[in-house]
Symmetry: D2
């Protein structure tokens, strides 16, 4: 078995583990170093570092400190890696810890994070998902069970100083357009809760003050939350610093396209078995700006779908110009209304869309003024038949179970 190079002791705060960090900065020292061709295991905290518990109270979701996220394992230095190379990463396997066979999904309060449908679901809610081998189900959402499409939500290499500066500049410019918005348009550097790995002293403080937050995906990959970047896939990452500095975390047992619930997929702590290689000067050779990848040959084969359409006219009837975000929101809302006819609460339906392997497609993006987005809901994950028929839907779900909800503190 490959060596476990980074361990995550879940009984310990990730801040006490110096092979963990929660900001992107080129000065973070490599936690470990490997050679091209090596395979090894990294253990990871869940993205919140243990803030969310396996219980029936959504207060922890409401009160989460989002300035702490995401806790990443790394950086892993790769010998010989130089800026301009491609770092080839095989995700050989990923799993939960034997002693922690569960994950969480939830919606943040609109006052603290929000989410894709925060106007419709403004309060914190959560669901707990138990793992049964390759499968998962939730005590808070009956009638649905599916195989995991396990993947890291967040993985990428350290940015260079130049790249970091570019990120901070463009994101601050966006914030400046509406600096008091709740939730904020972007998250600027925030030193108080920064965890800079082994970086200490003044160097740590300087880096903490400028280290990029881990929330958005960026050129290096990062928090892409791409469900298809799953165990078994091979990724080609741009390298920006000597040694590459690969970090990862935010493991998901399963997620729907868009990670629309934001908190998040089925979030879990766990481990990943990786193998690394290099394509020297690969960025120029292949014209690479963002990571590219080949998906896994082992993915759930759910292929019977019910597909919902959405167009870029919003809930208020307002016309948007080729706005796929609005269109996908409508497709999601349509699917939620549909599932409610079978007895689910809106929150339960929303959670299914955030956790199950649903696909979100950009179906049409040129037919002015309406973008068309489609949501592919796999029918085989339900215990019952959700196909329309002449008699209308049966309420298979009795409604006596719902997801915990936590009212905002006044």
């Amino acid at each position: 078995m490959a060596d476990t190079l980074i361990k995550a002791d879940l009984s310990q705060s990730p801040y006490e583990n110096d092979m963990i960090h929660n900001r992107w900065h080129p000065d973070i020292p490599m936690a470990v170093t490997v050679k091209p061709g090596d395979d090894f295991i990294l253990e990871c905290y869940d993205w919140t570092g243990g803030q969310i518990k396996n219980d029936d109270d959504a207060a922890d979701v409401r009160d989460v400190d989002l300035s702490q996220v995401h806790f990443l394992s790394g950086p892993v230095g790769v010998e010989g890696a130089e800026p301009g190379d491609l770092l080839v990463v095989d995700l050989l396997d990923i799993g939960a810890f034997p002693q922690q066979q569960w994950g969480f999904n939830g919606f943040f309060s609109k006052q603290n994070g929000g989410g894709f449908l925060t106007e419709h679901f403004p309060l914190a809610q959560k669901s707990i998902w138990d793992f049964e081998g390759m499968f998962t189900k939730s005590r808070h959402i009956p009638g649905v069970r599916f195989a995991g499409l396990i993947h890291p939500g967040l993985i990428g290499c350290l940015p260079s100083h130049d790249l970091l500066a570019k990120w901070n500049k463009r994101e601050q410019a966006l914030i400046d357009t509406n600096p008091t918005r709740v939730p904020g348009l972007a998250n600027p550097p925030y030193a108080p809760t920064a965890h800079m790995g082994r970086l200490k002293g003044d160097a740590r403080d300087k880096a903490a003050a400028e280290g990029a937050r881990t929330v958005p995906p960026r050129e290096h990959g990062g928090n892409c939350d791409i469900k298809d970047l799953s165990r078994g896939s091979r990724i080609y990452f741009p390298v920006y610093v000597k040694g590459a500095g690969l970090s990862m975390g935010d493991l998901h047992f399963s997620q729907g396209d868009g990670e629309i619930t934001f908190c998040g997929a089925i979030e879990m702590a766990g481990w990943a078995h990786l193998k690394v290689n290099l394509i020297k000067d690969g960025m120029a050779k292949y014209g690479i700006r963002n990571p590219i990848f080949k998906p896994s040959p082992i993915v759930p084969t759910y292929n019977d779908y019910l597909i919902f359409e959405g167009i870029s006219v919003d809930e208020a009837g307002e016309q948007h110009y080729l706005d796929v975000h609005v269109a996908y929101r409508q497709a999601c809302l349509n699917a939620i209304e549909y599932l409610k006819k079978f007895g689910y609460s809106g929150a339960q339906a929303y959670s299914i869309l955030g956790t199950a392997p649903v696909q979100g497609h950009i179906s049409g993006v040129v037919d002015v003024p309406n973008a068309c987005a489609t949501l592919f809901l796999p029918t085989q994950i339900f215990d019952f038949d959700i196909t329309p028929n002449a008699d209308g839907p049966t309420k298979f779900i009795s409604g006596d179970i719902d997801m915990p909800i936590a009212p905002d503190r006044v």
Copy 2:
């Protein structure tokens, strides 16, 4: 064999065929009437009504009259259909005409229609695709061949008067925000080129002046350009008028998600074999606003992909807030740069993305401020291996063939 209820004589102008129309309006008389349970065949013009020719000159794409599109076959009245019902349509089969085994793809001039990447490809270009049974290839784009995922780009039922009024109002409001933009933000009713089917006289003139243009997808479906709504699928359409009034056209031999080239997919004339049924009061029973559908069990099984990521930072480096449209554009541009390394021109690469069964996924849409879109490029459609390797790409494509281009008229 089922009866052909509407015929399309390609040697004749679609304006001379009164079972064709090119606007949406509830007053357009049913061209034919069928019963629930009937199956039948409709023939269709290509969406431009024959404006684009099988030749090596893109002038026809440059000079296309977009006020004429799309020529639709219908409306088909369904006995017993009433507002609030769902019209269940089985797309039993779709094909090209034996005597016209080709289709076209192209980019409009930015001066006349534009498209998804019009800033990068501002001039009219086209490619012609020959069909070989279930497969297609183009003399303008070597090295690529694939099976067709044949589908109607446009299909839906007539709107009610109320729904039509709502469309016109909201779209005009958008236009009013920037009425002189080129290309326009939306297309208002335009009577001179309206084809209102069998509607004649004053009634025709009134309807032509208010008939909705067929370009965007809307609540009824319409020009969704969803590649997965392919032959073999079953669609559930909202019904807004007595008799439903199903119309269709804009047949595609194949298309990538987004139809990014706008002109369009692989566009063709042809026929469709349909079967209709009703779910009475189905809109309320299932909470339906937009059509839903089940995809076909017969689709190309290309499943080996190279996947490109894009984030919502535009080509100029500007940060956009969770803008999937921008993110998908970046993913597409990334794929184009990549394919150029194998010898394709940018235009050829763009066309491949517009025509082949590529998937466009809304992968992440909550990680502020960046949306993440992914483009799945099937590797099995190429004659050569496009996977990255340590040696870098081989220029399999010599570059001596390119797509016809037509400079704008001065």
Copy 3:
């Protein structure tokens, strides 16, 4: 559109069409000649030449003249083809005739042909399958509908004189072990009903007396009845005579692995669109004895199966040594018993296994003394759920419809 090189007039006896033949012999003249790279269409009679009718009487199945089969279209000569080459054949498309949108399936009487389960179903029965675009269903077997996996049951090149002599010798040797068996162990040449295409006079009579029957698959391919050799696939055939001499027929709209009902798959007349190429000296280059092929990228995606096992202990409890034939028979009988619990008659269940895209796998073939065969029954072809549950099966099928049966003549 490609030219139709061989036409099949279904109102005419195939014996009157000199581009048809029903025996394998190297002296049969080429009916047409094409060049490598050409694509073209061949029309085909159904394998019996029209003996089976679209009605509700199985007498035609009982009385079929099996000495006449199979009526093949060809041979097609390919310029430049020489013995030792591989003839590359693309099955670009295959379909039924517009005016004949149906096919038949049946069991022969044990007295005239028999079949895989002839001990259990000794009398002639048939079912008629109507085509609805890409789908089929039968008025004789309710509750089941599926997309066609359309393919030629029989396709291959003419044998050389040496190869023909080898066939006749080894098959006669088998017959000689039990010459009076009913049904016979093999079918020797039989001149009276031979159709030798354009071969006339003494040459015809000589060839008719030695022409191999078309029933079995052999080194050249021939009557392989491989459902996966479907439209869209590419086949590499050994060439034994100058010009190759490709012939084909026995079109199937759909078939299960094994073609266990023998009469046969869903049998139909129709057309095939082919393209040919050559790999010179390909047999030696690739060590080819039998055809090889790449399957189609367009096949029905039914992937939810209920799988039945069978071992090589026969119905009487007798132990056979690693006999896959016996094991597959048990798997089929197990599936039939299972389906009867839902209300099907045994004959209906048997027909489903013969016509739907079921897979038959050689799962274990070394664990002495029992071979293990598995039958994969796609669950998605049924209108109802056939998965086991704690309550036991529901009789969805009322039993008021059955397949026509024809008692043997006394």
Copy 4:
């Protein structure tokens, strides 16, 4: 995490572990007891109990004591299970031990076990396969790597006394037809190496003398070696004794249909996570004689195949009557010849067919006198392109690496 109810200490002989047994007999006491709805983990020895080593010498394969196999973990008693019930088993997950990330494949000597192609490969050979997360490759067979389709080769419930008697009787009758054959037609009970679990004293000796060997699959399932019965699948087993008595072992990391190499698949020690339930009186309700199952939604998605045909004419040219065993042997031999053209030794090619997820289909089984079998070889498992082309094959494999071979002892 579920409890591990049976542990396998690989440093200990399985004979010392009384929760292991290697014969089928109803008197073997339950090793553990669970309730319907429970999930739990069983650890398993490899089928030989550690006789084969991770080295480069095939002497262990040559000298294996086959009277010892298979070492099974169990029996697991299920409360409430009675004869006639169906035991529903979910294979929630299966894996290798972290400290033993490898498996073996080999051919037995014809003098000691033999195998499917023992006439062509009469000497003992082996290959060692290293696991890299979900993937495997062998240092003895370059150029090939694939994802595991992990499954138990052997799983089933204890037979009743009556069923056991029937097995022994029919298998002895077969042996009696040629009692001196090498390898034997079947394996009769053999007490000296029997491991009867917790059964002790006279009861043990009596049961050991009549306990059925574990080699063949039988009515209860047993050694089916069905690759599709993989982790994630759900199996419905007939129950013959009170408490059911589920036992399992013979874990495979991957296997081709037929397990043609006999020693065997990629054989490994490991663990399985199971869940059990009951369908009371399920055998009668569903007409079940042999187990049925639903395959996993998580299987490798290799779907690009090169398919080889074989007919029931053997290597000597002799004609067999509808013998699928002979036909599949020809298909396998054809694939081996083909792969040799790319540089593989025959033994390497044979091993690939035995280990990779190849499919073996019973394609035609009625076209007298030839059965037709097809072997589906996935092309995506090779590092290079194995598709035929006009230039002929390239020898990608240099031939400097081969599998260890062990000459028979004289």
